[in-house]
């Protein structure tokens, strides 16, 4: 919980990170810090290594060099048991949901609760009901299988699973990709609300400029293997770095900004 209003406590610290695929350099000496309670977005053109960066932060991939500290733990020196402990404090929403197709929505959300807690089956069912309500899924979707859900519902169900254990830190990989504008706006609101109530720290990878304006606190722009700039959307939209300007000051970027400044 966000007991301390001390928002300068770092949750993720990345120092001199370098990643290579064979001889191709994906990240070249990247450093940044994510603070507790903020929504930090990573943007960049396709192939700029956003998803790779995310995989490194959630311990699915090891960087070639540099250090990553998540919730105070050094990922390069973490032991087996410690990493399990740490993973329980993280929630991840994968780009395509990654719900287990053999399980119903409710069973999917119950998986982490069953694995990692000693709660009774009835209590777990009730918690599942709460999480379903949080992500605004109708109760009758609980018994459905993932392949019976629409794209928006799938994302919501996956988000419910990601926050099942009340994580401190949530990673969202393209949360609004493939959703219609109404669903996107609803998901953005949901993310903000969950952050507020649960005191979450959120790291998201996204392309969606509207989402960035509505949700993100600070944004880091990846390009050419470097972290080009970190700042609020307002700062970035006035940036004179050519690559950053190209990203945020195209016609779409301006449209998203106007919309964000002049809400209906």
């Amino acid at each position: 919980m966000s007991l301390d209003d001390n928002t300068t406590e770092p949750v993720i610290e990345i120092r001199h990170l370098t990643t290579k695929f064979g001889s191709a350099v994906i990240h070249d000496d990247i450093s940044f810090t994510v603070l507790r309670g903020e929504i930090f977005a990573v943007v960049g053109a396709s192939g700029s290594g956003k998803s790779t960066l995310l995989q490194e932060m959630i311990m699915l991939r090891r960087p070639e060099s540099g250090s990553i500290h998540v919730l105070g733990k050094d990922l390069s020196a973490i032991g087996e048991r410690e990493s399990v402990e740490l993973r329980r404090r993280l929630g991840v929403l994968f780009q395509h949901g990654a719900l287990f197709s053999a399980l119903t929505v409710a069973e999917n959300i119950a998986v982490p609760l069953r694995e990692h807690t000693q709660l009774s089956a009835e209590f777990i069912r009730e918690i599942v009901g709460i999480k379903l309500g949080w992500v605004r899924l109708p109760p009758n979707s609980a018994g459905k299988y993932p392949n019976e859900l629409s794209g928006g519902m799938l994302k919501r169900a996956a988000l419910a699973r990601a926050i099942a254990l009340d994580p401190e830190l949530v990673f969202l990989d393209e949360p609004t990709a493939g959703l219609d504008p109404a669903s996107t706006a609803a998901l953005d609101d949901l993310i903000r609300q969950l952050k507020y109530i649960l005191g979450l720290t959120i790291v998201m990878v996204t392309h969606d400029l509207d989402s960035l304006w509505h949700v993100a606190g600070r944004v880091g722009v990846l390009g050419d293997g470097k972290l080009l700039q970190v700042g609020t959307m307002d700062e970035l939209s006035r940036s004179d770095h050519p690559l950053v300007a190209e990203y945020f000051q195209g016609s779409r970027g301006r449209g998203a900004k106007e919309q964000a400044w002049n809400p209906k």
Partner: protein, 375 residues
């Protein structure tokens, strides 16, 4: 989450709550509360100021306990609750809190029987129409061979035929050894050792080799076809082909069927050699029938028809395996789990049908006068 939590009743009837009301402590707190909640009546005071941390489960524990108490007509006053915890509790209760079972309703027995029958008929009908459709496509390809996709054909010929040679050859050799062993035990006491040639020759060429070859191909290639086409269904590649105006039957399925029709008879012929050789090895080591004597008798008692019957079944088995493998692949729907299920069905069904057709062949050949008893 190392901080402990507690909920205990004071002498004056106040419930004192303290510590971290978080997931790890909730099972313990739930037990403590259950003891406490039974006692007392009327107004109850919960002193919450000792709570240092709370998450969803903790908040829900408070909320559901309050609800139970209120249902029994008692009122509870929460005191000293921090604002953010209060908000969390309220947010939870505003939204949901119904128990969600999350299992689709289990249908009754008659319901299940009906569904199973209906699905089985649909499957049979679907397979029938698939066979019809692919036969048409194959006939069209035979009339117009330039439309055959040679690249996938040769690829499948290599994967399903060439690369199966070692395993088919080895297993057939072993089957020859096993069959000859059984025969040797029976023949030796009668001094009829030389008859092992008749036994091994006829059993291997007519029955064992075509069957073992078909079963291996069903396990190797049939399952691979289902998994490949099934995965392509899941990733919508099959739909992509359709929208491009490319018939999946022509691109995916015809080359596989044709490749197996060529590969399985060739594999059977090769396995005939290794299988009979396995019998020869046992005949010479166990029954003193050396290779020369074996081959001498082999050429006089085994007729080309025995070989042709065995190899003649092979294309039929090939069609069964390829058709079922591809059809089950196309039946895959939606999920990764479905791929696994249909792969299993594909192998079981094709082995089943191969054996059924083998039995039909025996009856048919007997009627045609080239069964074993006529010779």
């Amino acid at each position: 989450m190392t901080a402990t939590a507690s909920a205990s009743l004071d002498s004056d009837g106040t419930l004192r709550c303290a510590g971290a009301w978080k997931m790890a402590n909730v099972p313990f707190l739930e037990r403590q509360l259950a003891e406490v909640l039974g006692k007392g009546s009327g107004q109850q005071i919960w002193q919450m100021s000792g709570i240092t941390a709370m998450d969803t489960t903790g908040a829900w524990l408070v909320r559901r306990s309050l609800r139970r108490l209120e249902q029994t007509g008692r009122r509870v006053e929460l005191r000293g609750l921090r604002a953010e915890f209060d908000q969390l509790i309220r947010w939870i209760s505003a939204d949901a809190g119904e128990s969600v079972a999350g299992q689709p309703e289990k249908p009754g027995m008659i319901d299940q029987l009906g569904h199973a029958t209906w699905n089985a008929s649909l499957q049979a009908l679907g397979f029938l129409s698939f066979v019809g459709e692919s036969t048409l496509v194959l006939l069209r390809l035979l009339v117009n061979p330039s439309r055959i996709r040679w690249q996938p054909f040769f690829y499948n010929l290599k994967a399903g035929g060439l690369q199966a040679i070692p395993i088919v050859g080895l297993l057939s050799f072993l089957m020859g050894v096993v069959i000859a062993f059984q025969a040797a035990v029976g023949l030796r006491p009668f001094g009829a050792s030389i008859l092992i040639v008749d036994f091994v020759g006829i059993a291997m060429l007519r029955e064992i080799v075509p069957l073992i070859t078909a079963i291996i191909v069903a396990g190797r290639s049939g399952s691979a076809y289902t998994a490949q086409i099934g995965t392509m269904k899941v990733t919508e590649e099959v739909n992509a082909l359709r929208t491009m105006g490319i018939s999946p039957l022509e691109l995916l399925i015809a080359p596989k069927v044709l490749a197996l029709i060529v590969a399985v008879p060739l594999l059977t012929a090769f396995a005939d050699v290794t299988g009979v050789f396995g019998g020869m090895v046992i005949a010479s080591t166990q029954l003193d029938v050396n290779f020369n004597a074996f081959l001498d008798r082999f050429t006089s008692v085994i007729y080309p028809i025995d070989y042709l019957i065995g190899v003649g079944k092979a294309p039929v088995f090939a069609v069964i395996i390829a058709m079922i493998g591809c059809y089950q692949g196309l039946c895959v729907g939606g999920s990764a789990e479905s791929v696994g299920r249909h792969t299993t069905i594909s192998v079981v069904q094709s082995i089943f049908l191969v054996i059924v057709f083998d039995a039909l062949f025996s009856v048919l050949l007997d009627r045609m006068g080239i069964g074993l008893f006529v010779q």
